[in-house]
Symmetry: D2
Subunit: 347 residues, 4 copies
């Protein structure tokens, strides 16, 4: 790499963390640094065959490991941390998904408590073919095999929460965390509020792909080689994680019931649009109401996540945060060029 500052971090197993907040940074970087890191899958790599039932091989609370926290120098409470995903690349030629007892959208859970016994715990093992850009599903109780497009993303990205809280990595909230949205793919910039010095960024839970809602509770779970570039926007903290790619501004809300996740995300998109276009809030509400998209991210985690999307074509020349996305995107493209990497999925 010519003048890009690039650092690499491959955590050893004992360095893995399972929470946001409270840990010691494993890495310190300056804004503008490109970070190459590896992440383990949500099962800690312990589910390798269809006979490896997660409820047996995984031990609470060592679920959903994250790589980090990364201290971004200069980031202070009130700032916004921009995390641009340059590349997300499966590290193995297989990935797994599973049901899990009393977890998922179509089953009784520990909070949607019912008298039903759990559904069967079943593991699916996918073939991952990065060259062909597909993963291959195999039915467990039948012969069907189907190829699905590879579309790598990270389910879990976040910073240390406010108020000194330490929150398990499976929870999405205002600090990011386990939002499980397929929108968090390469080519996307994620904006997170900085609550403590350095932000304390951590990343995990790579998915080869994921449907909206993550209905069964897990995606096509995979360890990843991931490259990001980070930046800090002083004093720009907003309440909830926002995303931007070349086509959409996106906001997120993570809460229960699902309509509150929807409300948070839509409210923030209205507020953001009003700011960017100098609109009255009701005028911005109208604009968002007619042009916005509202896909579910996850409806299974301890909070549910909804995403609100506004086409950037609605913005005219307005660019959030002085065009940081375009700058980081350019850095990302340069990195990929210099590394000779071809984008995979939609990234």
């Amino acid at each position: 790499m010519t003048d890009l500052e690039v650092v690499r971090f491959d955590p050893r197993p004992e360095q893995m963390r399972y929470a946001f907040g409270g840990g010691r940074p494993v890495l310190r970087v300056r804004p503008g640094t490109v970070i190459e890191l590896t992440t383990e899958d949500c099962f800690g790599g312990k589910v390798r065959e269809v006979t490896d039932l997660p409820s047996r091989v995984c031990v609470f609370p060592e679920l959903n490991p994250v790589t980090g926290p990364i201290h971004v120098e200069g980031a202070q409470p009130g700032d916004l941390l921009a995390v641009h995903f340059i590349d997300i690349r499966p590290r193995r030629d297989w990935a797994v998904s599973s049901t899990f007892p009393h977890f998922g959208a179509l089953t009784a859970t520990h909070t949607t408590a019912m008298l039903h016994p759990p559904l069967d715990e079943v593991v699916w093992r996918y073939d991952v073919d990065v060259e062909a850009g597909v993963v291959r599903y195999h039915a467990r109780r039948g012969d069907l095999s189907v190829e699905m497009p590879l579309d790598p993303m990270h389910g879990t990205v976040g910073v240390a929460p406010a108020g000194g809280e330490v929150v398990m990595s499976i929870t999405p909230s205002a600090h990011g965390g386990n939002m499980d949205t397929p929108e968090l793919r390469a080519g996307t910039t994620l904006y997170l509020p900085v609550n403590v010095a350095g932000g304390q960024l951590a990343i995990g839970d790579g998915h080869c792909r994921q449907g909206e809602g993550e209905v069964c509770g897990t995606a096509v779970e995979a360890a990843m080689d991931t490259v990001i570039v980070v930046d800090v926007i002083p004093g720009a903290a907003s309440g909830w994680p926002r995303l931007q790619n070349d086509e959409y501004l996106m906001t997120t809300g993570s809460a229960r019931p699902l309509e509150d996740a929807f409300r948070i995300s839509q409210h923030d998109l209205v507020v953001w649009t009003a700011e960017l276009l100098g609109l009255d809030p009701l005028d911005a509400l109208q604009l968002v109401s007619q042009t916005g998209l509202a896909p579910a991210a996850n409806v299974v985690d301890t909070n549910y996540t909804m995403v609100a999307k506004l086409p950037v074509t609605m913005l005219g020349a307005a660019q959030p945060y002085d065009g940081v996305h375009a700058r980081l995107r350019a850095t990302g493209r340069r990195y990929l060029d210099e590394a000779g990497l071809r984008p995979i999925g939609r990234g």
Copy 2:
């Protein structure tokens, strides 16, 4: 039209209905008939200028008029009614949207009851340009004007409910009704359960376009010239409305809280996928979990509506209901050809 059976129905104002169930049919047609009909907008055409506040010019319960009911001969309880939308075309060169006191996703409502006074009631008047394929938004409290793609759809389509109920047209539920999903555009087939003889189909609430969630409570509301073709699939009733276009199988759920709308739609998509592919339900759950989309339809009506979408590429050669969508789609294309109509929006 060569051998297409085509009938036309333009309701007089006093023929408008405001509920599903309980009314006398305005039209009787055989399966396979193409029906040209006109619909009024959700305000009954009474909101024409930004000074026409809906809460003043509209009188409860004469809200959200529907055209129908249409009796489809031979349709019996237990059958499925297929309604294919051939064309949805704005009848005027303007359309309107508005906020409404205590209605919408980002305001206290009569059921999400709070001590806040209502938000301001504001009307937006859009220019509609069918030739250019756009609608034009004008901010009310600023100078911004923005073009948005025209993408016509119907918010309200349904049949007589089960159990002899008469349900206001603003409510979406298992009988269809006010689902307010942008997926209900031309080129799409809607499947509705038949609860009473003839099904008693009614259609209204045309939108020039709508964002997912219909956050402010209304879309770009317009009177429409709409063409449909109907068919009956004996004994194929499923519990909730389903949709199909050339790219997706879609299911819907309308309920509160929003996660129940999500659960209904996803459950039905899993069941439908399992049937079509001969899969075990958990194998179908896995397939849907990784490839499904889950956009909000509306999060404002008396029930909220979510849509679940499966790419038809997952189905291989399987075709729901013996390929009725393809047949009706072909009929629709022939109709458009013979009528010299160019599809608008994405239809």
Copy 3:
């Protein structure tokens, strides 16, 4: 009865209705009339033994029969109908309860849709001893028998809904209906908004007793001999059913999610308290916040119902609706005296 106007109505089976709205009155009475009527249980009397499974012996939509509608002369839209319960008396020496497939608070349902098979359908047959004031429970899968206090009430009381709707009797909403609150016992006055001429009152779903929430989906279901007295309060319509007994003002909300039922009921109690005491809404909010009770009514029906209760001791001399409760209560006491009836339960 000296000068009380008393009428009696014992419906024949074919006179039973299963919905609110749309039917012809079975009785016309003047305000002030005492009405003796009989009601059948929610199973239409078809579940008599533990082997009579509701899903087999009951046929949709003939569920939850109601006695009525009763036309109260002079009642006009905008008025309030006061229905005072003088006596609710089980007609048989047995009663039944049951689970029902996919119905209840601790099971997947048709709207909280999941992939679980239904829980077992089980019927419990209770002994009813009016003299001793108890019902006796017998475990079905063990030997335990327990006596519980008899506390008769009606789960379903309502009027014709607004907007011409016809709503199945199992649904609670602003028109009353299947609220399933144990507060609706003898000694209580229920206030219902009049939506159509005569109000069209109907009553059913007697319970020998019921826990708050009606968790399993049914109460101790029984046919009843019930005596009410009705009155009309011109122009006093409020949005949602209210109740009053000698100790509490009560409001209800029926909606989903449960917090919306809570919000409706609390909002109405705050508004009502503010009116009665001439308080600012926030002062009334504070008073209700510190002294109100908030029991669940049902968390199983198509809408959930919450009740909000304010001790009348907070009201000083203020009396709602010019003291109609006290007047009807006095009429009720006179009726009981003259009829030689001893109140049962807490009535």
Copy 4:
């Protein structure tokens, strides 16, 4: 005190904590120890006059201070901690309540996000008369004053959460925390799951009284002199906080939406009843369904809390946890006798 082991802890302001989990114990006690402690009110004592607006005088995250954590020797993960409340006594002759911007059940909040400006922030100052057993409310925007019974309780009692989490004291969950139920009064035993060695009990948020639901967001908030006695029941951990007094077994659920809080509490009451009476779960469900109570605790906090109550008369001779409640209750009575303290409220 004769042979009671009694310790006292009066925290200095800088010893106050604002979270459960992660802190160092301020006190170590053996099971069976009586603990006299003082707690500050939820505003940290900073709201003393109606002009002290909480949003100005309180600084995030120093909200809702708790006294503790207390390490109970021998308590291990998997054990149950029994905390019996002997006495809860207001320390001042005044108490306060308030609204707070975007907090409460009848206002838009940060998660039920809406476009409304916040409701007015208003403080009410109550007179507290322990001798007379009342608090006195004064309307802020009118002349009304009303006496309400004094009924002291603690809104916030909990232990260190599972999984190493650190959770702000305003959140109720499986570890207890800010459940805000009026049932947590003197005479009641609270059972909490032990997640870390010593349990790490902390207590705060005393209320002179509170309505069910805590609608406005705060109760009659007061600093307290509180006396408890603790015990450990080895291996008896259940998932969620349970309570017991002389009349009722009680379970709690804290979640959103409110029906999930209801489900958790009812599910746990069914499971507990089945265990205590040796019943099949469906038989226990039936028993609970007909005799249980289901009051709201709070519908304002980050999780909502519902309580499920079963009359102990349903239990026959069965006693949970070998009668620990009766033993601790006896200890409490002895303490009060020897201290010459008269119970206040309903305790």
